[in-house]
């Protein structure tokens, strides 16, 4: 299945590579945002199925609160992607889980597939090993 994905990551090169990886997998990247404000604006302007959210953005560690808001209030399926998974150790309400950076393409693919299946309400048996689920 192809989804509309928002990449929220403040390192431009990392975001760029992630965009390519997702597009290679057949998804549509509706935008990349480096801070919470831009991310919220993009979600208001376009339909977003899935957001890949880094915790540390250019305006500080605002990714956690942003992810919660996107998941709980704005109907977006949220996966955190961060090198500090410890910061969301106890989980974030309304979001699926966290991927540890650095990842590889296979991890991204399996995690995105998993998240989209959950969003579609399809049964899922196993989560990819690199994805730490919440709840």
């Amino acid at each position: 299945m192809s989804a509309r994905i928002l990449v929220i990551e403040d390192e431009a090169l990392v975001a760029m590579e992630l965009r390519f990886v997702l597009e290679d997998l057949g998804h549509e990247v509706v935008g990349t945002a480096g801070d919470a404000q831009t991310a919220r604006r993009l979600v208001q302007e376009t339909e977003v199925d899935l957001a890949l959210v880094d915790i540390h953005l250019s305006d500080g560690p605002t990714g956690i609160e942003l992810g919660r808001e996107l998941g709980q209030k704005l109907g977006v399926t949220v996966l955190f992607m961060t090198a500090n998974p410890g910061m969301v150790r106890s989980g974030v309400a309304g979001t699926i889980g966290v991927l540890s950076k650095p990842t590889d393409e296979r991890a991204v693919q399996t995690a995105v597939d998993y998240a989209l299946r959950r969003r579609a309400g399809r049964p899922v048996e196993y989560a990819p090993p690199e994805l730490q689920l919440f709840g």
Binding site: M16, S100, P129
Partner: protein, 516 residues
Amino acid sequence: MTTTAWNETDRLAALHSYDILDSEREAAFDDLTALVARLCDAPIAVVNLIDADRQWFKSEVGLGVRETPLETSFCRHALLEQDRLIVPDATLDPRFACNPLVTAPDGLKFYAGVLLKDEGGLPLGTLCVLDTRSRPEGLNPLQTEILEVLAGQVMNLLNLRKALAAGRRADADLMTTAAALAESEAKFRAIADSMPQMVWSTLPDGFHDYYNARWYEFTGVPAGSTDGEGWNGMFHPEDQVRARERWIHSLATGEPYEIEYRLRRADGVYRWTLGRAAPIRNDNGEITRWFGTCTDIEDLKRVVDAKDLLSQELSHRIKNIFAVVSALIALSARQFPEAKDFAAAVRTRINALARAHEFVRPHTDASRPTVGTMTLHAFLNDLFKPYATLAGRMRVTVTGDDASFDDQAATSVALLFHELATNAAKYGALSAEGGAVTLETRNEGDRFILVWEERGGPPVAGQPERVGFGSSLATVSVEAQLGGRLERVWAPEGLRVTADLPATALSRRRAAQSVA
């Protein structure tokens, strides 16, 4: 020879304690001897004190000298009596008949002396009268009474004189002590007021009765306004209870007082302060006073906090750089499709380095990967997670003694196990469905051994002809970087790799510090 109740050593000591020998004539004594001479109608009257080798006259009438030898002394004999000695006619007394003072022309014929005794009954000498004519009838009752009474008065004079002298000495000592105390106090104040810290002192019950100049400069409060318990109100409201409890505990137990709290400065700003105090004790071990200091540590705290913050920022930047480098390689590889495999190989190695770095960098509680585990096993389990089954079961099982590893070893550890896992996934146990790997680590004296064993993979043909680049990386990491030995055994059931390291190889920085 009559034996006495006293001994000569004690008697002399008592005499000397009056500090009377060789003193000047004093009117009080001279008045008494003049009176007693007239009343007894005698030419000679003496206040006589018997020293070790002479008799010395505090006061005398009719003799003209202040001392004479003991050999010819009448009073010497008087000492042997209980209270007095009356000699009516010396020429008839065997004790004195041959005495030159008696046999001389116009010599002494009559003697009457009453002992001068101190409170302990020790005889110091006599009050006596002498005459050149004998008096067979002795002194009449009135004269005897006069002699007794005036002897008593001589003793009173001597005792009073002694007491006054002692009093003057005590006063002098007191003044010396007071002066020494004042000087000591002045020194203390000078030191205390020159110190950059605030200094205070309390009574044993904790009543604050002294603050140095610095306290009043810092707090701006009027002198004396924080005496007693008023100090607690100068603390930040959130710190008041904690500080009071700690102080009360120290007062009760005598333990030194130490606590950090916020103290209000004259301008209203609260500054972090280190308060410390220690008791001083008297000879009985009882606390007589507490002395304490307050040191402003606000700036120090800021520096420490800033340092921590900087350290974490740096660490975060390094982590970001790994991510950026990895992304750059991937992006560059998109331009060169033939380099896709190369790029993938490089990226996985860099990613392994990045993960290892995450385990060795300074962390806050929030950023740490998992609670308390910054160790080799935690890192390895994280590294091998991608090889787990879909159900989440690990295919590389890590067992044995855990170890910590520092940033110097991180690269080598990461590359070694990345290579082993990648090869196992391509050609070895992890490439077959039922295959698995055990990794056992153990301490052995001053070595640390890691054993990687593959099982259930495709049958092993034997040692490969060429050493792959990845194998070279692993060998270099273990042997050159970590100073250990790497051994590979291509057993038919599966590859076994043993890394034998010095125990300090994984934490060389810490080992070096503990030696220093």
